[in-house]
């Protein structure tokens, strides 16, 4: 494990932290209940939210905390933030801390932007003078200059989030604690958030990010910790953590397991999809792709045995888990060739990005020669990308459409598309 270089302590050190919550069976909220049933209160159940969690985060690291709902990841973040006290163990922090657990905490809907920005800034640890000095920068970043006199209750939810995020990033914190609930805005805003976090990381700030999105974990994090029922399961590279996460979840969740059998998940394992990513028209790896431009989805695979004419398919799933686009190499590259054990290959799917703005999760499958049903591997949830558009019309896809108006002398105007 990393050793702290002399003179520069690690930004975060967590040592055997445990935390449990008491869940009273019947919560007595009144004095009368307490007085009438003085014995009842002893029957408390404890829920162990965190057990013996230890890790440390290096300076300038983007550190992920992964786990499914109820695994204790948010509790851990709140312990780091000092919102919950820990039962045992210790936590050390080195540097100014900023928490992005929820944006706009303490915003008052009846006040205008300025008062809210100043108060929120003070909450996040600025002095009133600093908070006032940064007001202009906040308003400009949020692009809300023309609405600054408006009370917050007249803001749209998007404006609200923009303002809150703008305040939060104005705080010069060296350590940022980011909860996934942040990622609830629209896709373009999410992307903006992550762009900012990436910039901050490049500035040498340390970021701890809680998520159950393995795509985000893979894209952003240097290292990650996987929690399961409050216990640390794995600490290491994000892709290892993502693998363990999928293993644990699909292994335990009967519904998902049944679904995965039906869909032939996993395949025979004679080849593995190692990595999937997206590239823009310039061949640069991107998580965010502009509508109307050419884009390419790529998968790198490795063969464990000799394979002849393998083919790959991609299902581009949207937020509703609908396959908006399906493509297979079995059509264009039916005879992909002979691959020996240990060899690697890259499958590419290049297309005009006609997708509506939003987040997409490509599902890749790798199959033996044929119709693509004899699976060797299947990979879902390892990667996601965002489509951005300047002026979306609202359809699921936006294909080139020619609209024309011609005057018909006999009948009303007809619009043909």
């Amino acid at each position: 494990m990393s050793q702290a270089p002399a003179g520069s302590p690690l930004p975060i050190v967590v040592q055997s932290v445990s935390k449990s919550f008491r869940i009273p069976e019947e919560r007595s909220h009144t004095l009368k209940e307490r007085a009438l049933h003085p014995m009842r209160r002893t029957r408390n159940e404890t829920f162990k939210a965190l057990q013996e969690v230890s890790f440390d985060v290096r300076s300038g690291e983007f550190f992920g905390i992964a786990g499914r709902n109820g695994s204790g990841k948010s509790t851990l973040l709140k312990c780091l933030a000092g919102i919950y006290g820990v039962d045992s163990g210790r936590i050390w922090m080195n540097g100014r801390l900023s928490t992005f657990i929820e944006l706009g905490v303490g915003f008052n809907a009846d006040l205008a932007a300025r008062d809210n920005v100043v108060l929120n800034g003070i909450m996040m640890g600025l002095s009133p003078r600093e908070a006032r000095a940064r007001y202009d920068a906040v308003i400009d970043f949020a692009e809300l200059r023309e609405f600054e006199e408006l009370k917050l209750k007249n803001y749209s939810s998007g404006m609200h989030v923009r303002l809150a995020f703008a305040v939060a990033i104005q705080v010069d914190a060296e350590i940022l604690l980011v909860d996934e609930v942040l990622a609830v805005g629209d896709a373009a805003f999410q992307q903006k958030c992550f762009d900012v976090f990436n910039e901050m990381r490049d500035d040498g700030r340390t970021i701890v990010f809680v998520t159950h999105d393995m795509g985000a974990l893979n894209r952003f994090c240097h290292r990650a910790l996987l929690l399961e029922r409050g216990e640390p399961v794995h600490l290491g590279e994000p892709h290892e953590v993502a693998d363990r996460y999928l293993e644990i979840n699909f292994g335990r969740d009967p519904e998902a397991a049944a679904a995965s059998v039906a869909e032939g998940r996993g395949g025979d394992g004679e080849a593995r999809i190692l990595e999937v990513w997206a590239e823009n028209e310039l061949g640069e790896r991107q998580g965010s792709l502009a509508q109307g431009r050419r884009m390419t989805l790529k998968a790198r695979v490795s063969f464990a045995v000799d394979v002849e004419d393998p083919n790959a398919s991609v299902y581009v799933l949207n937020d509703e888990h609908v396959a908006v686009l399906v493509a297979t190499s079995a059509r264009d590259a039916e005879h992909s060739g002979q691959f020996a054990a240990g060899e690697e290959a890259v499958f590419e799917f290049s297309f005009e990005n006609v997708l509506a703005p939003g987040r997409y999760n490509p599902l890749f499958t790798l199959a033996h020669r044929g119709a693509g049903l004899d699976l060797m591997d299947r990979l879902e949830g390892a990667f996601s990308f965002v489509t951005t558009a300047v002026d979306p019309l609202g359809g699921v896809v936006e294909l080139p459409v020619e609209a024309r108006v011609t005057r018909d002398t006999a009948s009303p105007t007809r619009v043909s598309t």
Partner: protein, 292 residues
């Protein structure tokens, strides 16, 4: 899982979890002040007449009591000189009691109402009830100006004893803060604190020299009962206010009690209430986010 080496040197500052207080007093004060200021601003600009409405409440209450207790049931009769400037005496007491009610009654729900703050952000928890007390103090400051203007109009002449005013207010603020801390912490676990406190504060209203001056109370009560009555710290505070600010014809708190030494008892109670409130709040602060 690897465990970091068991050395504490070279590590950052330890994270201790939520507490009532903080080492960063600047932030503590800025938070308290700005929360109170924003609330005040909301009430001030919330309606067309803004601050006037804030003022109208105690003034209307005063008008009703004044008309009733001078015209219908005359409590000034038989009080001799201590009944002088009854209007100013009554208004001064009402303004102080309004502060007490705003500070304590407003604090009861404060921590629970600010649940989203408590559960989402790390800050010294004591800021919440203190901002309520501070907000009530802003109102008190404005209302005291009205009291002084009213007293001058009624014929009271400025006195050197007006200088006692900060001390009197300080005692009231300390006492109210103690109760505010106590109630806001208890309400998290016991929701019936709210109706209980409504009744108790009504009782305190009648058990303090607001309508009836201390002289009249002293005449009617046996010495034991009067002693008990004076254990209510508000009794001494209100009486001293009437004495120092309105007229010396009504006895000071010390005179009513018989000696300066006897005054130590209510003063000790004020500080005991403050200490108890702080102790209870401080104990509940670390886990208040989980209890909500």
């Amino acid at each position: 899982m690897s465990t970091p080496a068991l050395v504490t040197e070279g590590l950052g500052r330890p994270i201790r979890g939520p507490r009532a207080l903080t080492d960063d007093w600047g932030r503590f004060w800025h938070l308290t002040y700005n929360i109170a200021r924003n609330e005040f601003k909301l009430r001030f600009f919330g309606s067309v007449l803004g601050y006037l409405w804030q003022l109208v409440r105690p003034l209307l209450f005063f008008a009703v009591l004044y008309v009733f207790f001078t015209q219908i049931a005359d409590v000034t009769q038989g009080q001799g000189p201590s009944g002088r400037f009854y209007g100013a005496q009554l208004l001064a007491s009402i303004v102080l009691f309004t502060f007490f009610q705003e500070a304590t009654g407003g604090a009861v729900r404060s921590v629970v109402d600010r649940e989203n703050l408590v559960r989402k952000i790390q800050f010294p928890r004591l800021v919440i009830p203190l901002s309520i007390v501070l907000l009530a103090s802003f109102n008190l400051a404005l209302n005291l100006v009205v009291v002084l203007v009213f007293a001058l109009i009624e014929g009271v002449r400025p006195m050197l004893s007006w200088l006692e005013l900060p001390l009197i207010v300080a005692m009231l603020v300390i006492c109210s803060t103690g109760i505010a801390m106590l109630l806001s912490a208890l309400f998290v676990k016991f929701r019936d604190i709210l109706p209980i406190w409504e009744v108790v504060s009504q009782v305190i209203f009648y058990a303090s020299p607001v309508i009836i001056s201390l002289t009249a109370v002293k005449e009617k009560l046996s010495s034991t009962l009067f002693h008990l009555y004076m254990l209510n710290p508000l009794a001494g505070i209100f009486q001293q206010m009437r004495h120092a600010v309105v007229t010396h014809t009504t006895p000071s708190a010390a005179q009513a009690l018989g000696s300066w030494a006897a005054l130590l008892e209510p003063i000790a109670i004020v500080f005991a209430v403050f200490a108890l409130g702080f102790w209870v709040f401080n104990r509940s602060a670390p886990h208040v986010a989980e209890d909500l």
